[in-house]
Symmetry: C2
Subunit: 228 residues, 2 copies
Protein backbone atom coordinates (compact mmCIF):
# COMPACT_ATOMS: atom_id res chain seq x y z
CA UNK A 1 0.00 0.00 0.00
CA UNK A 2 1.39 3.37 -0.96
CA UNK A 3 0.53 6.76 0.40
CA UNK A 4 0.33 9.41 -2.24
CA UNK A 5 0.75 13.01 -1.25
CA UNK A 6 -2.05 15.34 -2.23
CA UNK A 7 -1.58 17.15 -5.50
CA UNK A 8 -3.56 19.83 -7.27
CA UNK A 9 -5.38 16.94 -8.91
CA UNK A 10 -6.94 16.11 -5.55
CA UNK A 11 -8.06 19.65 -4.97
CA UNK A 12 -9.77 20.23 -8.30
CA UNK A 13 -13.39 19.81 -9.34
CA UNK A 14 -13.95 17.11 -11.96
CA UNK A 15 -14.02 18.02 -15.65
CA UNK A 16 -17.32 16.73 -16.95
CA UNK A 17 -19.31 17.25 -20.09
CA UNK A 18 -21.22 19.91 -18.18
CA UNK A 19 -18.32 21.82 -16.72
CA UNK A 20 -15.51 21.33 -19.24
CA UNK A 21 -14.36 24.69 -20.57
CA UNK A 22 -14.74 24.76 -24.36
CA UNK A 23 -13.73 28.28 -25.17
CA UNK A 24 -10.21 29.49 -24.40
CA UNK A 25 -9.49 26.70 -21.90
CA UNK A 26 -6.14 28.35 -21.06
CA UNK A 27 -8.16 31.04 -19.22
CA UNK A 28 -9.82 28.42 -17.04
CA UNK A 29 -9.27 26.56 -13.81
CA UNK A 30 -11.01 23.77 -11.92
CA UNK A 31 -9.05 24.26 -8.69
CA UNK A 32 -11.03 24.56 -5.48
CA UNK A 33 -8.86 27.47 -4.37
CA UNK A 34 -9.50 29.43 -7.58
CA UNK A 35 -13.25 28.82 -7.40
CA UNK A 36 -13.47 29.78 -3.72
CA UNK A 37 -11.44 32.93 -4.21
CA UNK A 38 -13.90 34.28 -6.80
CA UNK A 39 -16.91 33.20 -4.71
CA UNK A 40 -15.55 34.85 -1.57
CA UNK A 41 -14.73 38.13 -3.35
CA UNK A 42 -18.14 38.51 -5.05
CA UNK A 43 -20.81 40.55 -3.28
CA UNK A 44 -23.54 38.63 -5.06
CA UNK A 45 -24.21 35.61 -7.21
CA UNK A 46 -26.74 34.77 -9.92
CA UNK A 47 -28.75 31.61 -9.32
CA UNK A 48 -30.02 29.84 -12.45
CA UNK A 49 -32.90 27.37 -12.21
CA UNK A 50 -35.56 25.89 -14.45
CA UNK A 51 -39.33 25.87 -13.97
CA UNK A 52 -41.37 24.08 -16.66
CA UNK A 53 -38.50 24.36 -19.10
CA UNK A 54 -38.16 28.11 -18.61
CA UNK A 55 -34.82 29.39 -17.25
CA UNK A 56 -34.79 31.97 -14.46
CA UNK A 57 -31.77 33.91 -13.21
CA UNK A 58 -32.08 35.52 -9.77
CA UNK A 59 -29.42 37.72 -8.14
CA UNK A 60 -28.85 37.16 -4.45
CA UNK A 61 -26.16 37.31 -1.80
CA UNK A 62 -24.39 34.09 -0.93
CA UNK A 63 -21.95 32.71 1.59
CA UNK A 64 -19.69 29.67 1.62
CA UNK A 65 -18.79 27.13 4.26
CA UNK A 66 -16.20 24.64 3.05
CA UNK A 67 -17.52 23.27 -0.22
CA UNK A 68 -21.10 24.33 0.43
CA UNK A 69 -22.65 27.45 -1.01
CA UNK A 70 -25.55 29.07 0.87
CA UNK A 71 -28.10 31.70 -0.09
CA UNK A 72 -31.44 32.79 1.32
CA UNK A 73 -34.76 34.36 0.53
CA UNK A 74 -38.34 34.80 1.56
CA UNK A 75 -40.48 31.69 1.66
CA UNK A 76 -42.90 33.57 -0.60
CA UNK A 77 -40.57 33.82 -3.57
CA UNK A 78 -41.18 31.88 -6.77
CA UNK A 79 -37.73 30.41 -6.58
CA UNK A 80 -37.80 29.01 -3.08
CA UNK A 81 -41.15 27.34 -3.45
CA UNK A 82 -39.93 25.23 -6.35
CA UNK A 83 -36.21 24.83 -6.05
CA UNK A 84 -35.72 22.31 -3.24
CA UNK A 85 -33.97 19.34 -4.81
CA UNK A 86 -33.60 21.06 -8.17
CA UNK A 87 -30.45 21.34 -10.24
CA UNK A 88 -29.06 24.85 -10.12
CA UNK A 89 -26.17 26.72 -11.67
CA UNK A 90 -24.73 29.55 -9.59
CA UNK A 91 -22.40 32.06 -11.18
CA UNK A 92 -20.29 34.75 -9.46
CA UNK A 93 -18.73 37.39 -11.70
CA UNK A 94 -16.44 40.34 -11.13
CA UNK A 95 -15.52 42.82 -13.86
CA UNK A 96 -12.00 44.23 -13.51
CA UNK A 97 -11.79 46.44 -16.58
CA UNK A 98 -12.23 47.08 -20.27
CA UNK A 99 -9.40 45.99 -22.57
CA UNK A 100 -9.11 48.14 -25.68
CA UNK A 101 -7.16 46.70 -28.61
CA UNK A 102 -6.31 47.79 -32.15
CA UNK A 103 -9.14 45.86 -33.77
CA UNK A 104 -12.74 45.47 -32.67
CA UNK A 105 -12.70 41.73 -32.05
CA UNK A 106 -9.54 41.84 -29.95
CA UNK A 107 -11.31 44.05 -27.43
CA UNK A 108 -11.96 42.17 -24.22
CA UNK A 109 -12.90 42.43 -20.60
CA UNK A 110 -10.71 41.68 -17.61
CA UNK A 111 -12.86 39.61 -15.31
CA UNK A 112 -13.12 36.73 -12.86
CA UNK A 113 -16.06 34.37 -13.00
CA UNK A 114 -16.95 31.11 -11.24
CA UNK A 115 -19.72 28.85 -12.55
CA UNK A 116 -20.88 26.19 -10.09
CA UNK A 117 -23.26 23.25 -10.38
CA UNK A 118 -25.17 21.38 -7.75
CA UNK A 119 -28.54 20.46 -6.27
CA UNK A 120 -30.38 22.98 -4.10
CA UNK A 121 -31.60 22.00 -0.64
CA UNK A 122 -33.52 23.90 2.00
CA UNK A 123 -31.94 24.09 5.46
CA UNK A 124 -34.44 22.34 7.74
CA UNK A 125 -35.27 23.51 11.25
CA UNK A 126 -35.39 26.95 12.86
CA UNK A 127 -32.21 26.41 14.85
CA UNK A 128 -30.26 25.30 11.80
CA UNK A 129 -31.68 28.22 9.79
CA UNK A 130 -30.61 30.68 12.48
CA UNK A 131 -27.14 29.12 12.66
CA UNK A 132 -26.74 29.48 8.88
CA UNK A 133 -27.88 33.10 8.94
CA UNK A 134 -25.40 33.74 11.72
CA UNK A 135 -22.62 32.31 9.55
CA UNK A 136 -23.70 34.72 6.81
CA UNK A 137 -23.62 37.72 9.15
CA UNK A 138 -20.36 36.68 10.84
CA UNK A 139 -18.67 36.36 7.46
CA UNK A 140 -19.81 39.78 6.28
CA UNK A 141 -19.85 41.79 9.50
CA UNK A 142 -17.79 40.13 12.27
CA UNK A 143 -19.00 40.66 15.87
CA UNK A 144 -22.28 42.19 14.71
CA UNK A 145 -24.70 39.31 15.40
CA UNK A 146 -24.51 39.51 19.19
CA UNK A 147 -25.10 43.26 19.19
CA UNK A 148 -28.43 42.97 17.33
CA UNK A 149 -31.99 42.60 18.57
CA UNK A 150 -32.40 38.79 18.72
CA UNK A 151 -34.05 37.05 15.78
CA UNK A 152 -37.73 36.25 16.33
CA UNK A 153 -39.31 32.91 15.59
CA UNK A 154 -41.77 34.44 13.13
CA UNK A 155 -38.85 36.00 11.24
CA UNK A 156 -37.12 32.65 10.97
CA UNK A 157 -40.35 31.00 9.84
CA UNK A 158 -40.62 33.53 7.01
CA UNK A 159 -37.06 32.87 5.83
CA UNK A 160 -35.60 30.01 3.89
CA UNK A 161 -31.92 29.29 3.63
CA UNK A 162 -30.80 27.18 0.71
CA UNK A 163 -27.54 25.38 0.18
CA UNK A 164 -25.82 23.26 -2.39
CA UNK A 165 -22.73 21.13 -2.33
CA UNK A 166 -20.50 22.41 -5.15
CA UNK A 167 -20.34 19.29 -7.31
CA UNK A 168 -18.64 20.79 -10.32
CA UNK A 169 -17.20 24.22 -10.86
CA UNK A 170 -14.99 26.19 -13.17
CA UNK A 171 -13.33 29.56 -12.99
CA UNK A 172 -12.52 31.70 -15.98
CA UNK A 173 -10.58 34.92 -15.78
CA UNK A 174 -8.61 37.37 -17.85
CA UNK A 175 -6.20 40.02 -16.69
CA UNK A 176 -3.59 42.29 -18.17
CA UNK A 177 -3.01 44.17 -21.39
CA UNK A 178 -4.58 43.73 -24.83
CA UNK A 179 -3.36 40.66 -26.69
CA UNK A 180 -2.49 42.34 -29.98
CA UNK A 181 0.83 44.09 -29.23
CA UNK A 182 1.91 42.74 -32.66
CA UNK A 183 -0.48 45.24 -34.25
CA UNK A 184 1.06 48.26 -32.52
CA UNK A 185 1.57 49.86 -35.96
CA UNK A 186 -2.16 50.67 -36.02
CA UNK A 187 -2.24 54.32 -34.84
CA UNK A 188 -4.87 54.01 -32.13
CA UNK A 189 -4.77 54.12 -28.34
CA UNK A 190 -4.75 50.68 -26.69
CA UNK A 191 -4.72 49.68 -23.07
CA UNK A 192 -6.86 48.92 -20.09
CA UNK A 193 -9.55 50.97 -18.37
CA UNK A 194 -9.71 49.34 -14.94
CA UNK A 195 -13.10 48.96 -13.26
CA UNK A 196 -13.14 48.96 -9.48
CA UNK A 197 -15.87 48.26 -6.98
CA UNK A 198 -15.39 49.69 -3.51
CA UNK A 199 -17.23 50.22 -0.26
CA UNK A 200 -17.53 54.00 -0.17
CA UNK A 201 -17.68 55.05 3.47
CA UNK A 202 -20.78 54.78 5.62
CA UNK A 203 -24.01 56.73 6.12
CA UNK A 204 -25.50 56.51 9.61
CA UNK A 205 -29.31 56.24 9.71
CA UNK A 206 -30.78 59.53 11.01
CA UNK A 207 -32.47 57.99 14.07
CA UNK A 208 -29.28 56.42 15.45
CA UNK A 209 -28.22 58.19 18.70
CA UNK A 210 -25.07 60.28 18.33
CA UNK A 211 -23.40 58.22 21.04
CA UNK A 212 -23.30 55.19 18.73
CA UNK A 213 -20.40 55.31 16.29
CA UNK A 214 -19.41 53.03 13.45
CA UNK A 215 -18.14 49.76 14.98
CA UNK A 216 -14.48 48.91 14.45
CA UNK A 217 -15.05 45.79 12.33
CA UNK A 218 -17.20 47.77 9.89
CA UNK A 219 -14.64 50.56 9.70
CA UNK A 220 -12.03 47.85 9.08
CA UNK A 221 -14.06 46.28 6.27
CA UNK A 222 -14.56 49.66 4.57
CA UNK A 223 -10.83 50.42 4.88
CA UNK A 224 -9.78 46.96 3.68
CA UNK A 225 -10.58 47.43 0.00
CA UNK A 226 -12.53 44.18 0.11
CA UNK A 227 -16.25 44.05 -0.62
CA UNK A 228 -17.01 41.50 2.06
Amino acid sequence: MTTESPTDEWLAFPKTDRSRIRREPHLGSYLHSDVYSVVDASPLCHVGYVIDGQPFVTPTMHWRKGNRLYWHGSIGSRFLRQVDGARVCITCSLVDGYVLARSALNHAVNYRSAMMFGVAHVVEGLEETERALRDFMDGLFPERWDSLRPVQEKELKATSVLWMEIEEATVKSRSGDPSDADEAHVPVWAGVIPMETVLAGSRTAPEVPESIGLPGPLAGLIASGRLR
Copy 2:
Protein backbone atom coordinates in the same frame (compact mmCIF):
# COMPACT_ATOMS: atom_id res chain seq x y z
CA MET B 1 -62.40 55.88 -34.16
CA THR B 2 -60.70 57.47 -31.18
CA THR B 3 -57.09 58.28 -30.70
CA GLU B 4 -55.84 57.56 -27.22
CA SER B 5 -52.76 59.25 -25.94
CA PRO B 6 -50.00 56.96 -24.71
CA THR B 7 -49.89 56.34 -20.99
CA ASP B 8 -47.50 54.48 -18.76
CA GLU B 9 -49.75 51.49 -19.34
CA TRP B 10 -48.65 51.42 -22.97
CA LEU B 11 -45.00 51.58 -22.04
CA ALA B 12 -44.93 48.69 -19.60
CA PHE B 13 -44.10 45.03 -20.14
CA PRO B 14 -47.00 42.65 -19.48
CA LYS B 15 -47.43 41.03 -16.07
CA THR B 16 -47.56 37.31 -16.72
CA ASP B 17 -47.30 34.24 -14.57
CA ARG B 18 -43.62 34.17 -15.48
CA SER B 19 -42.75 37.77 -14.78
CA ARG B 20 -45.19 38.81 -12.06
CA ILE B 21 -43.27 39.93 -8.97
CA ARG B 22 -44.30 37.79 -6.01
CA ARG B 23 -42.05 39.09 -3.33
CA GLU B 24 -42.25 42.72 -2.20
CA PRO B 25 -44.10 43.88 -5.33
CA HIS B 26 -43.81 47.49 -4.11
CA LEU B 27 -40.11 47.29 -4.96
CA GLY B 28 -40.89 46.33 -8.53
CA SER B 29 -41.63 47.92 -11.89
CA TYR B 30 -42.62 46.71 -15.33
CA LEU B 31 -41.97 50.03 -17.08
CA HIS B 32 -39.81 49.97 -20.20
CA SER B 33 -37.91 53.02 -18.96
CA ASP B 34 -37.05 51.41 -15.62
CA VAL B 35 -35.92 48.18 -17.29
CA TYR B 36 -33.81 49.98 -19.87
CA SER B 37 -32.17 52.22 -17.30
CA VAL B 38 -30.84 49.20 -15.35
CA VAL B 39 -29.80 47.42 -18.56
CA ASP B 40 -27.94 50.46 -19.86
CA ALA B 41 -26.11 51.06 -16.57
CA SER B 42 -24.90 47.46 -16.12
CA PRO B 43 -21.48 46.54 -17.44
CA LEU B 44 -22.53 42.93 -17.82
CA CYS B 45 -25.50 40.62 -17.77
CA HIS B 46 -26.04 36.99 -16.80
CA VAL B 47 -27.65 34.82 -19.48
CA GLY B 48 -29.63 31.83 -18.21
CA TYR B 49 -30.42 28.94 -20.55
CA VAL B 50 -31.28 25.27 -20.33
CA ILE B 51 -29.55 22.32 -21.96
CA ASP B 52 -31.09 18.90 -21.34
CA GLY B 53 -32.88 20.19 -18.26
CA GLN B 54 -29.69 21.60 -16.73
CA PRO B 55 -29.57 25.37 -16.12
CA PHE B 56 -26.49 27.34 -17.13
CA VAL B 57 -25.72 30.95 -16.20
CA THR B 58 -23.10 32.71 -18.31
CA PRO B 59 -21.83 36.26 -17.72
CA THR B 60 -21.32 38.39 -20.79
CA MET B 61 -21.45 41.97 -21.99
CA HIS B 62 -24.64 43.13 -23.65
CA TRP B 63 -25.99 46.07 -25.55
CA ARG B 64 -29.50 47.28 -26.32
CA LYS B 65 -31.16 48.71 -29.41
CA GLY B 66 -34.75 49.73 -28.76
CA ASN B 67 -36.43 46.72 -27.18
CA ARG B 68 -33.79 44.27 -28.40
CA LEU B 69 -30.99 42.99 -26.23
CA TYR B 70 -27.76 41.83 -27.93
CA TRP B 71 -24.79 39.84 -26.73
CA HIS B 72 -21.99 37.97 -28.46
CA GLY B 73 -19.54 35.15 -28.14
CA SER B 74 -17.29 32.73 -29.96
CA ILE B 75 -18.98 30.24 -32.25
CA GLY B 76 -17.10 27.56 -30.30
CA SER B 77 -18.88 28.11 -27.02
CA ARG B 78 -21.33 25.63 -25.56
CA PHE B 79 -23.94 28.28 -25.28
CA LEU B 80 -23.97 29.59 -28.82
CA ARG B 81 -24.09 26.19 -30.45
CA GLN B 82 -27.33 25.32 -28.70
CA VAL B 83 -29.14 28.50 -27.91
CA ASP B 84 -30.56 29.69 -31.22
CA GLY B 85 -34.32 29.71 -30.79
CA ALA B 86 -34.13 28.81 -27.11
CA ARG B 87 -35.91 30.56 -24.26
CA VAL B 88 -33.48 32.59 -22.20
CA CYS B 89 -33.64 34.72 -19.08
CA ILE B 90 -31.18 37.60 -18.93
CA THR B 91 -30.57 39.40 -15.65
CA CYS B 92 -28.63 42.63 -15.06
CA SER B 93 -27.80 43.49 -11.45
CA LEU B 94 -26.09 46.39 -9.73
CA VAL B 95 -25.28 46.43 -6.02
CA ASP B 96 -25.46 49.90 -4.47
CA GLY B 97 -24.69 49.12 -0.85
CA TYR B 98 -25.21 47.12 2.31
CA VAL B 99 -28.07 48.14 4.57
CA LEU B 100 -27.41 47.40 8.23
CA ALA B 101 -30.41 47.28 10.54
CA ARG B 102 -31.03 46.53 14.23
CA SER B 103 -31.98 42.92 13.68
CA ALA B 104 -30.44 40.32 11.42
CA LEU B 105 -33.39 39.78 9.13
CA ASN B 106 -33.95 43.48 8.51
CA HIS B 107 -30.50 43.73 6.96
CA ALA B 108 -30.77 44.29 3.23
CA VAL B 109 -28.93 45.29 0.10
CA ASN B 110 -29.51 48.41 -1.95
CA TYR B 111 -29.59 47.22 -5.53
CA ARG B 112 -31.12 47.51 -8.98
CA SER B 113 -31.91 44.41 -10.97
CA ALA B 114 -33.69 43.74 -14.27
CA MET B 115 -34.87 40.25 -15.22
CA MET B 116 -35.81 39.84 -18.87
CA PHE B 117 -37.38 37.00 -20.84
CA GLY B 118 -37.28 36.20 -24.53
CA VAL B 119 -36.15 33.85 -27.27
CA ALA B 120 -32.51 33.93 -28.42
CA HIS B 121 -31.69 34.34 -32.10
CA VAL B 122 -28.39 34.44 -33.95
CA VAL B 123 -27.75 37.48 -36.15
CA GLU B 124 -27.41 36.06 -39.67
CA GLY B 125 -24.91 37.31 -42.25
CA LEU B 126 -21.43 38.78 -41.93
CA GLU B 127 -22.56 42.32 -42.76
CA GLU B 128 -25.34 42.24 -40.19
CA THR B 129 -22.95 40.75 -37.62
CA GLU B 130 -20.45 43.53 -38.26
CA ARG B 131 -23.16 46.18 -38.01
CA ALA B 132 -24.28 44.79 -34.65
CA LEU B 133 -20.72 44.72 -33.32
CA ARG B 134 -20.32 48.31 -34.45
CA ASP B 135 -23.43 49.26 -32.47
CA PHE B 136 -21.83 47.60 -29.44
CA MET B 137 -18.57 49.51 -29.85
CA ASP B 138 -20.28 52.82 -30.66
CA GLY B 139 -22.37 52.54 -27.51
CA LEU B 140 -19.40 51.82 -25.28
CA PHE B 141 -16.62 53.82 -26.92
CA PRO B 142 -17.97 56.50 -29.30
CA GLU B 143 -15.83 57.34 -32.37
CA ARG B 144 -13.54 54.36 -31.77
CA TRP B 145 -14.70 51.97 -34.50
CA ASP B 146 -13.36 54.01 -37.45
CA SER B 147 -9.95 54.39 -35.82
CA LEU B 148 -9.40 50.63 -35.54
CA ARG B 149 -7.80 48.11 -37.88
CA PRO B 150 -10.78 46.94 -39.99
CA VAL B 151 -12.52 43.74 -38.99
CA GLN B 152 -11.45 40.71 -41.03
CA GLU B 153 -13.85 38.22 -42.57
CA LYS B 154 -12.31 35.35 -40.63
CA GLU B 155 -12.87 37.25 -37.39
CA LEU B 156 -16.53 37.79 -38.22
CA LYS B 157 -16.91 34.13 -39.16
CA ALA B 158 -15.59 33.13 -35.73
CA THR B 159 -18.06 35.41 -33.92
CA SER B 160 -21.74 35.03 -33.25
CA VAL B 161 -23.99 37.85 -32.18
CA LEU B 162 -27.21 36.89 -30.44
CA TRP B 163 -30.29 38.97 -29.80
CA MET B 164 -33.64 38.68 -28.18
CA GLU B 165 -36.74 40.81 -28.22
CA ILE B 166 -37.52 41.64 -24.59
CA GLU B 167 -40.95 40.01 -24.29
CA GLU B 168 -41.39 40.35 -20.56
CA ALA B 169 -39.29 42.12 -17.99
CA THR B 170 -39.31 43.31 -14.43
CA VAL B 171 -37.11 45.60 -12.41
CA LYS B 172 -36.63 45.34 -8.70
CA SER B 173 -34.67 47.82 -6.66
CA ARG B 174 -34.11 49.06 -3.16
CA SER B 175 -32.51 52.27 -2.02
CA GLY B 176 -32.19 54.31 1.15
CA ASP B 177 -31.94 53.67 4.85
CA PRO B 178 -32.77 50.59 6.92
CA SER B 179 -36.50 49.99 7.34
CA ASP B 180 -36.52 49.53 11.10
CA ALA B 181 -36.21 53.08 12.44
CA ASP B 182 -38.93 52.04 14.92
CA GLU B 183 -36.34 49.83 16.62
CA ALA B 184 -33.88 52.67 17.20
CA HIS B 185 -33.86 51.83 20.91
CA VAL B 186 -31.62 48.83 20.13
CA PRO B 187 -28.13 50.21 20.91
CA VAL B 188 -26.39 49.22 17.69
CA TRP B 189 -25.10 51.17 14.71
CA ALA B 190 -27.46 51.16 11.72
CA GLY B 191 -27.12 52.72 8.32
CA VAL B 192 -25.85 52.17 4.81
CA ILE B 193 -22.42 51.21 3.54
CA PRO B 194 -22.60 52.34 -0.10
CA MET B 195 -20.94 50.22 -2.76
CA GLU B 196 -19.68 52.01 -5.84
CA THR B 197 -18.29 50.73 -9.10
CA VAL B 198 -16.14 53.16 -11.07
CA LEU B 199 -13.83 53.29 -14.07
CA ALA B 200 -10.50 53.96 -12.41
CA GLY B 201 -8.35 55.84 -14.90
CA SER B 202 -6.52 54.21 -17.80
CA ARG B 203 -3.36 52.19 -18.33
CA THR B 204 -1.77 52.56 -21.76
CA ALA B 205 -0.36 49.33 -23.22
CA PRO B 206 3.48 49.50 -23.18
CA GLU B 207 3.92 49.19 -26.95
CA VAL B 208 1.69 52.18 -27.79
CA PRO B 209 3.81 55.07 -29.21
CA GLU B 210 4.12 58.05 -26.88
CA SER B 211 2.56 60.26 -29.52
CA ILE B 212 -0.80 58.50 -29.06
CA GLY B 213 -2.73 59.81 -26.08
CA LEU B 214 -6.02 58.73 -24.55
CA PRO B 215 -8.81 59.77 -26.96
CA GLY B 216 -11.27 62.41 -25.74
CA PRO B 217 -14.36 60.18 -25.69
CA LEU B 218 -12.56 57.64 -23.48
CA ALA B 219 -11.37 60.36 -21.12
CA GLY B 220 -14.95 61.63 -21.07
CA LEU B 221 -16.34 58.20 -20.23
CA ILE B 222 -13.86 57.76 -17.37
CA ALA B 223 -14.69 61.22 -16.03
CA SER B 224 -18.46 60.72 -16.37
CA GLY B 225 -18.92 58.37 -13.44
CA ARG B 226 -20.81 56.02 -15.74
CA LEU B 227 -19.58 52.49 -16.41
CA ARG B 228 -20.54 52.53 -20.07
